[in-house]
Amino acid sequence: MPVNYYIFLALALFCIGVVGVLTRRNAIIIFMCIELMLNAANLLLVAFSKLQTQTPNLATAGSDAQIFVFFIMVVAAAEVTVGLAIIVMMYRNTHSVDVNFLNRLKN
């Protein structure tokens, strides 16, 4: 399968993520959109690594990008725990997960 398909899919996912972050007010949805963007990047990494393994004279070609993706997933999982914890605390204090409600730091 040509690598172009993967690129377009990743682009679409990323754009959905960006638009979601910019337009939605629910913190959890924004969070999910961020995950979407992260995974778009992951998808690209994997796709390009697959592309590289087809070049025969590179011994380690493609393997480092896949290891990299695992790292990103681990870091994303850690980030999710912190982020969800913040959202839970936020809900406890304000009874809302609306990010526009959290504007008390302005000025």
């Binding site: 960006v18 959290l102 504007n103 008390r104 000025n107």
Partner: protein, 636 residues
């Protein structure tokens, strides 16, 4: 290094130790102990100075090098002490007269708290230390350290009773006037270093031929500016009379015997430079003479006993500068010596009188003290004879030597000099008559209090009186005894180069003995007339309340010099300062600095509006920024 004179470092070191002990231990030491330490270190220095003097007299001169003070590639300044005829003579004067004044002070200052008493002696020791450094230094840099040191100590001592603000003003005046002179001195030293690359006396004096005549004239004029500050000559003399605000022994020490002679010493030390600059010599002679006359006229009408003495000091210093200006270096140094004796005597005598009068300094309230204070009276009278130039007292020989040299150079100098001598005799015997003769004019309380001072005061007076009588005999001129002028023979090596130069230019005018006799006769006769007239007039002095008029009023107000300085220099300076303060400082510099602050404040208040607190707005900005970066990346 094996030279016995290597130990001269002890001479200034001992007073420094005395200063440290008295200064640091002022809360613990008793008055007796302070007095013993303060005077003892000076006595020890004096004894070493006597030893050094006899070494030098036997032909042992020495430059003691201790360590490098400044050591760079282009300039080397050693911490050197130069011991030769000139400096050893000054060492004797400073430590000898200084010691007597210390002894005197133990009694005079006895009413102070023990803390202040110790502080006083600490300052006094520091002062002697600085002065010793000044005369012993082997180059202009070490001299400058002492030069500044005496300025500082005079400030501290004049303002010793700092609770009265007038004393502080006098102290500040002395310090600032001295600073003006010091500036000239520093410039001269810089000039010397830039031309010759050294400030060492011996190197400078052996290389003077490398300097152009313009350089020499400039350097000597600047050095002379320094001397006018320290030695109270026109135009910087006004600090000295005001300096009488300090305790009387301080006036005797600083303003008669030692500090003011610094300028004379410096010029005598650099004599070869000055001999090579005839322009400067003329300037020095004229300024010295003008100072002598102006100060003498002011002294005629002063009523404060210390002010009269102060102006007489200024006037006598003018004589010394006249001597330096006409090339009579020995005469000037000789006069420094005799003047140190009789002026210290007069100041200490005045202090004794003030002490007996309970702090009264106005001569109009004195009179008839002769029968209460016999020793003070007698010694004071001897001092008056000495300063008036009566033979065979000390002042006669030194003053006459200067006057004879002045006559040889230019008879006009001599005429003005004799006129000054006439006035000197007059005002000194006016002082004497108003103080010691006639009837007592003070209050009954004061009359009851009158008493002769204790031994610590009278003994220094007696010693100084003896010196004031016999001190001139080491310089009896050739006309009286063949080979009589011992001092000239002693100082000959120091002034040898100058004398040779003058001889080679054939400028030396020898006076015939008949002329010298005639000159002496005229000056003595004029002084005698003034003396008798003043004695006669002021022994019957009555207190009057009439205002002075005409010229007398101008003299009583000191030619209004202070007022002229105030309106010509002080006021314009202050108005410029006010202008700078109000316009340049407040509007200009403050405006600039505050403007930066205001601009930052304003712009930050505007930029702060971007922080809406809306997370999506931040996100939007972030995405836009990333897009912009992306586009830049694409097209670059």
């Amino acid at each position: 290094m094996s030279n016995t004179l290597q130990i001269v470092w002890l001479i200034p070191f001992l007073p420094l130790i005395g200063f440290l002990i008295n200064g640091l231990g002022r809360n613990q030491l008793s008055k007796t102990l302070t007095g013993i330490i303060g005077s003892g270190v000076i006595l020890a220095s004096f004894l070493i100075s006597v030893f050094v003097f006899f070494q030098v007299k036997n032909g042992n001169t020495h430059v003691a090098h201790y360590f490098d003070f400044i050591n760079t590639k282009s300039l080397k300044v050693g911490f050197d002490f130069q011991i030769d005829q000139l400096s050893s003579l000054f060492l004797l004067i400073i430590t000898g007269v200084g010691f007597l004044i210390h002894v005197y002070s133990t009694s005079y200052m006895h009413e102070e708290d023990s803390k202040d008493f110790a502080k006083y002696f600490a300052y006094l020791n520091l002062f002697i230390f600085s002065m010793l450094l000044l005369v012993m230094g082997g180059n202009y840099i070490i001299m400058f350290i002492g030069w500044e040191g005496v300025g500082l100590c005079s400030y501290l001592l004049i303002g010793f009773w700092f609770k009265d603000n007038n004393n502080n003003d006098a102290a500040k005046k002395a310090f600032i006037m001295n600073r003006i002179g010091d500036f000239g001195f520093l410039l001269a030293v810089f000039w010397l270093i830039s031309k010759l690359g050294t400030a060492d006396y011996q190197e400078v004096f052996s290389n003077v031929s490398k300097l152009s005549s313009f350089d020499i004239a400039g350097i000597t004029l600047l050095l002379f500016v320094g001397a006018t500050g320290k030695s109270a000559q026109i135009p910087l003399y006004t600090w000295l009379p005001d300096a009488m605000a300090g305790p009387t022994p301080v006036s005797a020490l600083i303003h008669a015997a030692t500090m003011v002679t610094a300028g004379i010493y410096m010029i005598a030390r650099s004599n070869i430079l000055f001999t090579m600059a005839p322009i400067t010599q003329t300037v020095i002679a004229v300024i010295g003479l003008a100072t002598a006359v102006v100060a003498a006229t002011i002294a005629l009408k002063q009523n404060d006993i210390k002010k009269v003495l102060a102006y007489s000091t200024v006037s006598q210093l003018g004589y010394m500068f006249l001597g330096l200006g006409v090339g009579a270096y020995t005469g000037a140094v000789f006069h420094v010596m005799t003047h140190a004796f009789f002026k210290a005597l007069l100041f200490l005598g005045a202090g004794s009188v003030i002490h007996a009068m309970g702090g009264e300094q106005d001569m109009r309230n004195m009179g008839g003290l002769k029968k209460y204070m016999r020793i003070t009276h007698l010694t004071f009278l001897l001092g008056c004879f000495a300063i008036a130039g009566m033979p065979p007292f000390a002042g006669f020989f030194s003053k006459d030597e200067i006057l004879a040299a002045a006559f040889a150079k230019n008879p006009v100098y001599w005429v003005v000099g004799v006129l000054t001598a006439f006035m000197t005799a007059f005002y000194m015997f006016r002082l004497y008559g108003m103080t010691f003769l006639g009837k007592f004019r003070g209050t009954h309380e004061q009359e009851h209090h009158l008493h002769e001072s204790p031994a610590a005061i009278t003994i220094p007076l007696i010693v100084l009186a003896i010196l004031a009588v016999v001190g001139g005999w080491i310089g009896i001129p050739e006309v009286f005894i063949h080979g009589g002028h011992r001092l000239e023979a002693f100082l000959e090596p120091v002034f040898a180069d100058s004398n040779k130069l003058v001889a080679s230019l054939n400028q030396k005018h020898e006076l015939s003995h008949a002329t010298e006799y005639a000159l002496m006769a005229v000056s003595v006769a004029s002084a005698l007339i003034a003396l008798l007239y003043a004695w006669n007039k002021f022994s019957k002095y009555q207190k009057t309340t009439t205002e002075e008029t005409g010229i007398a009023r101008i003299l009583a107000n000191k030619w209004y010099v202070d007022e002229i300085y105030a309106s010509v220099i002080v006021k314009p300076t202050q108005s410029i300062a006010t202008f700078f303060n109000n316009i340049l400082e407040k509007k200009g510099i403050d405006g600039f600095v505050n403007g930066i602050g205001k601009a930052v404040n304003y712009s930050s208040r505007q930029i702060r509006l971007l922080q809406t607190g809306q997370v999506s707005a931040y996100m939007m900005l972030m995405v836009v920024a990333v897009l912009i970066l992306f586009i830049i990346q694409l097209f670059s």
